[in-house]
């Protein structure tokens, strides 16, 4: 899995690519912590190129959400594939995160 972190005007986009499981969840965790540095107004996690995620990956996003809440950063997940959405629904985390369809919506949600 690769993760890109891009700082744009007023927000940060974190875009992992590949399956997110126990073998690489720490890489995503590190990238999310990096994205949160400086308390940006908004962090968008673009999941368009993540076909699979297990609870290790979900845990990193929950941690990011907790950091975001503490520092008043808006965390938004976007472009979630069905398999990934499924684990959020099973864990009932789809009610906890802000999840939107695409990047355009993520920048305003």
């Amino acid at each position: 899995m690769e993760v890109s972190v891009e700082r744009r005007d007023g927000f940060v986009v974190v875009a992992p690519e590949g399956d997110v499981d126990l073998s690489c969840a720490r890489d995503l965790q590190q990238s999310l912590r990096e994205a949160m540095e400086g308390s940006p107004a908004r962090v968008i996690v673009d999941l368009e190129r993540v076909p699979y995620m297990d609870s290790s990956g979900v845990a990193t996003l929950v941690e990011a959400m907790q950091i975001a809440r503490k520092q008043s950063t808006k965390l938004v997940l976007c472009a979630m594939q069905d398999k990934v959405r499924s684990i959020f629904e099973i864990a009932r985390l789809d009610r906890v995160f802000t999840i939107v369809q695409d990047m355009e919506e993520a920048s305003t949600a």
């Binding site: 399956d19 499981d21 126990l22 073998s23 297990d54 609870s55 290790s56 684990i87 099973i90 906890v96």
Partner: protein, 169 residues
């Protein structure tokens, strides 16, 4: 085709040789191969794509728990995943039985529980997910061994009515 029978709901391992066996080291890099194989076998047994994904997710979560908690991330532990079709006399299997064995320290199976979902925090979701997506999940100490736990999971192809009954709806 050998019959796995109906006796797996209480954790009984089928009395015939497994149809598929995977042996892997306790290293996260092998998770993707294990879940891909389990998903492919589930598809052959007749599960739809959604359920194939859920079965492989349950196996992934079980293996993660063995790697993290059983072997404490030591990379040289051994794990065995065995798969059987559940036969009920029809042309196609009625479901799948997956048994996961390890040689890690034994724990009291009754303390292996999923956490309360209202307690939103990182981690602790694996067991909850397994119980949610499979028809039955049973942990036990491996008999006749000083070390090692066994997990027996089943999923029936049409388990929606059973799930509904379990959730009281």
């Amino acid at each position: 085709m050998a019959s796995a029978g109906q006796s797996t709901d209480n954790g009984t391992v089928p009395g015939v040789d497994p149809h598929v066996t995977i042996e892997l080291l306790s290293q996260p890099r092998y998770l993707s191969g294990a879940r891909d194989l389990v998903a492919a076998v589930s598809k052959r047994f007749g599960f739809n794509d959604s359920d194939c994904g859920r079965i492989s997710l349950a196996v992934d979560e079980a293996l993660c728990n063995v790697i993290r908690h059983g072997y404490d991330r030591s990379p040289d532990g051994r794990i065995w995943v065995r798969v059987w079709p559940i036969e009920e006399g029809g042309e196609k299997p009625a479901g799948i039985c997956v048994v996961i064995d390890d040689e890690a320290a034994q724990v009291d199976p009754t303390i292996i529980k999923g956490r309360d979902l209202d307690d939103v925090r990182p981690g602790g979701l694996g067991v909850y997910i397994m119980r949610e997506v499979m028809t039955s999940v049973h942990f036990e100490r491996r008999s006749g061994q000083d070390m090692g736990m066994r997990l027996v999971m089943t999923k029936l192809i049409d388990d929606q009515s059973e799930k509904a009954a379990r959730h009281g709806s």
